[in-house]
Symmetry: C2
Subunit: 638 residues, 2 copies
């Protein structure tokens, strides 16, 4: 009997002892971080509301109870019963029975009504039909990504369960080492922005945190090939943790599966879906630009299949000696600060990922309150001594003013924007401005991946800012569903119609004018002096966006293979203050108010000057030990 | 054709172009770091004295010229001719012909006379017989170790040549990476004394520097198992560099071969022989103490077979992007500062190994003059703020006085001493004191491995201090051959005779009274108040030596399995100042006078307090960036 089996055997016995005698336990097994308890008495389990909670707290494990397959009501009968229990207003859009696990996935427009007060409706379902209900939200805007991911996971359910069991045994394996140490190895994003990648290691466990590309520099990839990276094979790491879905953190996560990795990815559910969206687009762009994509779309599916989604605040065992907890990072949908508790009280490390410290319209500000944390790995994108951004209120005022001016002279506003995060922030600004009459009602067109990214946002309102979430949950005032938002899905023909239809606002990718539909918009709108182009995001060195921003007005365009020159006559404006990153003040505030204050800070994810400035400032102001690591270094903390 | 073959082909052509037309080149190949040129005209080569030197400087490679086998004089005839050319006084003790390489190994008491002025005699030999002479010294004291090593290498000559060719191709392989970086990973001896081990790595090359044990703590071994150590397999390292033979630097070098390593070890010739002596003894001690030795004696032989001995000052290619040069470290016989030149002027790192900065009787002080060096990895054994040692002259005066006092009351002096280094230093003090009449002539007995270690010292006088070497070379005044030195080789019977024979001095292992013949001497001499026990070396925590030094006089002894108590009545004295390590002042002087002064210093090989003190002092006094690394960290320098 292996150590894991012995452990399960002993847990089985413990559970039997804890439960009332009339509740049977037919099997106990691990699925990923969770302990799954099979019973022939699911209904009795469901009757005693807090039995599972008590067990979980006693065993210090996350517990799922499943009925033995042969005590389940037949699906047809069960469906009828379920539809009877759940109120009509919940808006069930799908019911899916999985006989292997005894779970029924209920997709509904209002998951809260399916769950009921403190889960009462769910318990009632189990009491009546035996099945374990799992609730997912019907996306208010139909998202192809979410639909595809859910269908794919349904289809791969059996293999996924095998993965869950295998990983479960890995997580709960016996610790082998009697040594204690905690180390971080830097594989990227040190003294640079891009290719985020770290290894967090203990004598037992190696965890890869992020694995991104470097925008504008295809050749500079994370140093995976070194021995302390994946040099010894992709399966020398036990887990991948993804802080958020932006490509400079996620682009090479699917590549790991090409290298033979078959372990878990921990991230939030929206990050999983956005990673799917963005990496597939990444492959698309590479192919269109004639580059060989580093992996195939099949690898994106592998990544999705191996993802174990976690919610903010869930403390999850991901290795015998490591517990992971995600906290809201305020940067984009599903973005997380990843907190690692290592050993039994031995050490705590938090990776900030990318953060925004103050609340934005979309998200609450980043969480900086932890039970314990000795070392913080902190992004430093705007860590330079002069990296202060305009106040968002001022920025919004300026944006509104520019739109009004353009509208008044009959022109069209075009805003290049990143599909994920900044577009939705601007949508919220525009929605409020139109709703409150600060700008006249006019169409706001969304082109490129923006619509799809927005659809994913509306699927996961619980990841949005409190009051925004409440509007979506309780008041049926989902701002993303405002009528004046129009999804450009009619190609060039629709774009031409928009050009000729009078004042409007267009949000279009790519955010740095490096390709995508924004190129068409420039052609359609560039020569008309009444129109306005407004930059709302960072324009990197070497991008066409940066050139236009700094005054270029002769733009080379490719038309059916021929190169021609486009002369820009429209107004070009910049409104900053909409960044998804904390500025220098925000970074300092994040650290200053952090509870508890960490002993050590590694300043990463910023150019050389930014990390040095921030590291030096934090050292002098707060007397912490600070570092500005280089790539390929290893720091030991214990 | 492989890249190496193409390269050899082009070098072949270059050599043909450089040589006079009447000298043929039949083949060109690599053997380890050397380029071997085969010729059918060895005699003509030998006629033009500086042809090889010119070629070497032109090609920037170490070059060996070998005759084609079929142009060689037959061994019998050649031997007669060689004995005719070499003067009688050279004292030839062996001639050994290797037909595969065309080399003849000449063992002689006076190698200088075999070599002749600027190598003239060697050239004459080649001119007459075609063979390439290689000269080794007849050990003035017969050393079983040296004899065994030489016989073993002779016997394994063919496999060794295969190793040389394989490693030669590895060294001269084409560089694959277009990146530049230089890193040091700490696998041991950080914030502790013992288990020295580092990995020096570039994108091309990984070099293990030292691999030792931790005295008094068998379980604490270097962190070889981590991925950036040997986690990816023993052959993920390209070369092993051994700074010196003490076990805390060498004990686990043979273990690497058990792990499957089959690459080269670079060290000096005496370090190779001493490593053989000390690691075999290490296995012996482990077996006697009932521990399972970590490897078998066969692995020691493998290590010796894979050793490429280098001389001080030889600049040697050990990888496509790394040149290694050893410099005298002044610590023990053959001990080296290892200087690495990386890339073509990219970066330079020096590992001090263990050093003694001032001259001692045995050795010149450590070299600290380099073409370039940006980072120094510095031992810190005596780096603490109060780690100043007594001046050696005062120490010698005190030792002489104690011996005289003991002699005058008819007693015997017994000195526990480490076999390698300290024993020979004390022998030199005693030899001079007796020769100059400072102490009366009396026998000096050498027990344990001291005699054998001394024999190895006399085999390599070129590694000893200038004036000592000159005495041995030119004046036939080898102090180690003084008549009053007596090798205890008659066991207990002889020891009893010594006990009863009146005043004498005994040097015996082990140096910290942890076993060995010193235990017998304590029994024989311990109860006589006229005798004196003198400590001349560091006594580690937990050793019997440390206890006796601090006043214990009831000593538990094992006699035929029974434990009895020995009451010590003899005088116990300590004379410090004979350490093989630089003291705090010596370490500072080494850095202060270093040319050029390094930018960064890593303070290692000292306890926590010592490395912190030294690191802080060097930073404040000399404005260098200094570090006190932990084990398992990686520093990047470029």
């Amino acid at each position: 009997m292996s150590a894991v089996e012995q452990q399960l055997e002993s847990i089985h016995q413990q559970i039997v002892n804890e439960l009332p005698r009339d509740i049977s336990v037919s099997a106990v097994t691990y699925e990923g971080p969770e302990l799954v308890v099979y019973t022939r008495d699911p209904k009795k389990f469901a009757e005693k509301g807090d039995l599972v909670r008590k067990l979980a707290s006693k065993l210090r494990k996350r517990i799922t109870v499943r009925p033995d397959p042969d005590v389940l009501t037949r699906p047809n009968d069960a469906e009828a019963a379920i539809r009877e229990v759940i109120p009509e207003e919940a808006g069930i859009t799908d019911l899916d029975f999985h006989e292997d696990t005894g779970e029924v996935v209920i997709e509904a427009a209002k998951p809260g009504l399916v769950i009921g007060r403190h889960g009462s409706t769910l318990r009632e379902i189990t009491q009546r039909v035996g099945w374990t209900p799992e609730v997912v939200r019907t996306p208010p805007i139909e998202s192809a990504t979410v639909r595809n991911v859910r269908n794919y996971l349904k289809q791969e359910r059996e293999e996924r369960r095998a993965i869950l069991e295998r990983v479960g045994r890995q997580i709960h394996r016996r610790e082998l080492s009697d040594e204690d140490w905690v180390r971080i190895t830097t594989l990227g994003c040190c003294r640079e922005v891009g290719r985020a990648s770290f290894v967090l290691s203990t004598p037992e466990t190696r965890i890869l945190v992020d694995c991104g590309d470097k925008p504008g520099s295809e050749k500079e990839v994370p140093y995976l090939q070194v021995p302390e990276g994946l040099g010894g094979g992709a399966n020398t790491i036990d887990a991948v943790v993804l802080t958020h879905a932006h490509l400079d953190h996620s682009a090479f996560v699917p590549l790991l599966f090409k290298y033979g990795y078959d372990g878990p990815i921990y991230t939030t559910e929206p990050s999983r879906d956005l990673m799917g969206l963005l990496t597939l687009d990444y492959l698309d762009v590479a192919a269109k630009e004639g580059r060989t994509p580093p992996y195939e779309s099949e690898m994106v599916r592998e990544a999705i299949k191996h993802t174990f989604p976690l919610q903010y605040g869930d403390v999850t065992d991901i290795a015998p000696d490591v517990k992971l907890t995600f906290h809201n990072a305020g940067h984009i949908l599903g973005s997380s600060v990843a907190h690692f508790h290592i050993g039994d009280g031995l050490y705590n490390v938090a990776f900030s990922g990318d953060i925004h410290y103050e609340d934005t319209r979309l998200f609450n500000g980043a969480v900086n309150d932890f039970p314990r944390v000795e070392t913080l790995v902190l992004e430093s994108t705007y860590g330079g001594r002069n990296d202060y951004q305009t106040d968002q209120e001022d920025s919004e005022r300026k944006l509104v003013q520019l739109i009004n001016e353009t509208h008044d002279r009959g022109g069209i506003v075009v805003i290049p924007a990143f599909a994920v995060g900044r577009s939705q922030e601007i949508m919220l600004v525009l929605e409020e401005a139109i709703r409150t009459g600060k700008i006249p009602e006019m169409p706001v067109h969304l082109d490129g991946m923006i619509w799809e990214a927005t659809a994913i946002h509306t699927t996961y309102p619980e990841y949005l800012r409190d009051d925004l979430r409440n509007r979506i949950f309780h008041e049926d005032e989902n701002p993303f569903l405002a009528e004046f938002f129009n999804h450009i899905d009619g190609g060039e023909e629709e774009r031409e119609a928009v050009r000729d239809a009078g004042p409007s606002v267009i949000l279009s990718t790519s955010g740095m004018i490096t390709g995508g539909p924004i190129m068409s918009w420039l052609e359609h709108l560039g020569s008309e002096p009444n129109n306005t182009l407004i930059f709302v995001g960072y324009q990197a060195q070497g991008t066409l966006g940066r050139r236009i921003q700094s005054g270029w007005d002769e733009i080379p365009m490719t038309d059916n293979g021929r190169t021609k020159t486009l002369t820009l006559k429209l107004n070009v404006e910049t409104v900053d203050g909409f960044s998804g990153h904390a500025d220098r003040q925000g970074l300092e505030n994040f650290v200053k108010t952090m509870n508890p204050r960490p002993e050590k800070v590694l300043c990463v994810h910023g150019d050389e000057r930014s990390v040095q400035d921030l590291s030096s400032a934090l050292y002098h102001k707060y007397k912490m030990r600070t570092f500005a690591p280089k790539n390929l270094e290893t720091f030991r903390f214990r």
